[in-house]
């Protein structure tokens, strides 16, 4: 097993990737490095320090190549930070061979931007206790490269729909409603590109789904240097186990696309559907996510920010005091208007 890191050639301090500058910066002397510089340095010095690993149940111990301290991590962690010196330890074995990601989207958003986004996470959240978004409530902010599978697929979808056209008219004595019943059939092909599914059990699927979409124009060839200063996980769910999840999403969209093609009816109900899905290509990638653990009233809330686009999401607590207050205000306004109408 080996643990690797990146060091400044000038002062030997640890380099960290700066999302804002898209460069590696030495936090001590301020020297900036591009990816090419790092590759050159890698060739010149051997960055892999052999380290003994001790297996203890699901946890393994490594030695920090910088300070020699023990780093304990679970079996799926691919990059972590030494708790003593803060050095990023990248477990190369967990990013090679079968675990080698094809691509990576480097972080574009900084930790400060994630914290700022949390502080501004108030829009439309009238029931949220105002103290919740205080920066002091943030227990932990981690920039994590999360393993994802991306599926490219072709879908052939067929839907059978019961549809009704309604016509209304009247004469001097009666109202008439005429309902014309139709059997509608639609079939079509469509392609899907890079449907993502989170490949780690550690991270809640709903949160990972909610921070989508990522801009795939930002996909870079995988290079472990991007992990400096961040955490990373390797996949712990096999690609074929998640296939169905991606397929279901594609089928849902395919059905909806055909359904929207049926026009000119007043009622439409899908009677049956047949789908054929052909997975063309799959790839294993690492995508950047800022995870924030916020402690409020003794409860931990997990919020996340897309490390590339900055989309911030998370469930927030509700203050029932605020609910009562706002309910009363709305109630009073509507009641007053209604009373005014009945008065004049």
């Amino acid at each position: 097993m080996s643990v690797s890191d990146h060091k400044c050639t000038a002062c030997k301090a640890v380099l960290k990737f700066n999302p804002a500058k898209q460069k590696w910066i030495c936090e001590y002397c301020g020297t900036q490095y591009s990816l090419e510089d790092l590759e050159q340095n890698k060739k010149e010095r051997n960055v892999s320090n052999s380290a003994k690993s001790v297996v203890n149940g699901h946890y393994k111990e490594y030695h920090c190549p910088d300070c020699g301290a023990e780093i304990v991590m679970d079996e799926n962690t691919a990059a972590t930070a030494c708790v003593y010196c803060g050095n990023t330890a990248i477990i190369s074995d967990r990013l090679n061979g079968e675990f080698a990601p094809k691509n990576i989207i480097p972080f574009k958003k900084t930790r400060e931007q994630a914290i700022e986004a949390f502080s501004n996470y108030k829009k439309g959240k009238w029931f949220m206790p105002s103290e919740f978004v205080r920066k002091e409530n943030i227990e932990k902010t981690s920039g994590v490269y999360i393993p994802f599978y991306l599926y490219d697929m072709d879908v052939f979808e067929q839907i059978n729909v019961n549809a009704i056209k309604e016509t209304r008219w009247s004469d001097s004595d009666f109202y008439y409603t005429k309902k014309d019943y139709y059997k509608v059939y639609r079939a079509g092909n469509m392609s899907f590109n890079k449907i993502p599914t989170d490949a780690s059990k550690k991270f809640p699927d709903d949160i990972m789904d909610s921070i989508e979409p990522f801009d795939y124009n930002g996909l870079e060839e995988f290079n472990s240097s991007y992990m400096s200063g961040f955490l990373a996980e390797k996949y712990d769910i096999e690609m074929n186990e998640l296939e169905n999840r991606a397929k279901k999403r594609a089928i849902e969209t395919a059905k909806d696309t055909l359904y929207k093609d049926i026009i000119g009816y007043d009622e439409k109900n899908i009677r049956s559907a047949v789908d054929e899905v052909d997975i063309k290509e799959t790839s294993y990638v690492l995508l950047p996510v800022w995870m924030l653990n916020v402690k409020y009233n003794g409860k931990i809330y997990t919020l996340a920010m897309n490390g590339q686009t900055g989309k911030f999401i998370g469930n927030v607590p509700i203050s029932w005091k605020k609910v009562a207050k706002i309910w009363t205000i709305i109630f009073a306004i509507i009641t007053a208007i209604m009373l005014l109408f009945s008065l004049f």
Binding site: G124, K125, F127, M128, Q158, S170, D173, F174, Y175, Y176, T177, K178, K179, D180, Y181, Y182, K183, V184, Y185, R186, A187, G188, N189, M190, S191, F192, D205, D206, I207, D209, S210, E212, P213, A246, K248, R249, A250, E252, T253, D256, T257, I313, G314, N315, V316, P317, I326, W327, T328, I329, I330, F331, A332, I333, I334, A336, M338, L339, S342, L343
Partner: protein, 117 residues
Amino acid sequence: MKKKLTICIVFITICVAVCLGNKTNAYIRREETNNVKSSAEKINERQEKDKTKSIFISVGIGAAASTIICFFIGLSHKPVKTAKAANNYIERNSIDITDREDQFYDSVVNRTAKSDK
């Protein structure tokens, strides 16, 4: 600011309710002074009924509407959801509807007498 606004709104509501009551009472008094007692009593009764009814309706609609609005505001506090579709990942120019069939199979006419409505 919010406190002041709440007080203002509650105050306006009370004022409107009082106005409504006063208007009815004034009308009744005027009718009474005109010595049209029987007619005034009838109007009084009818207006009392209308007033109570309109207050009940207003309060009911106000309560229902504010509950619905609060429910929808509450939903925005739980935005985390599992994705059901893949709308962001469909290649728009790849959509090819290969078959369209619309087959008519039945027609039903319903007739309702105007007096029933």
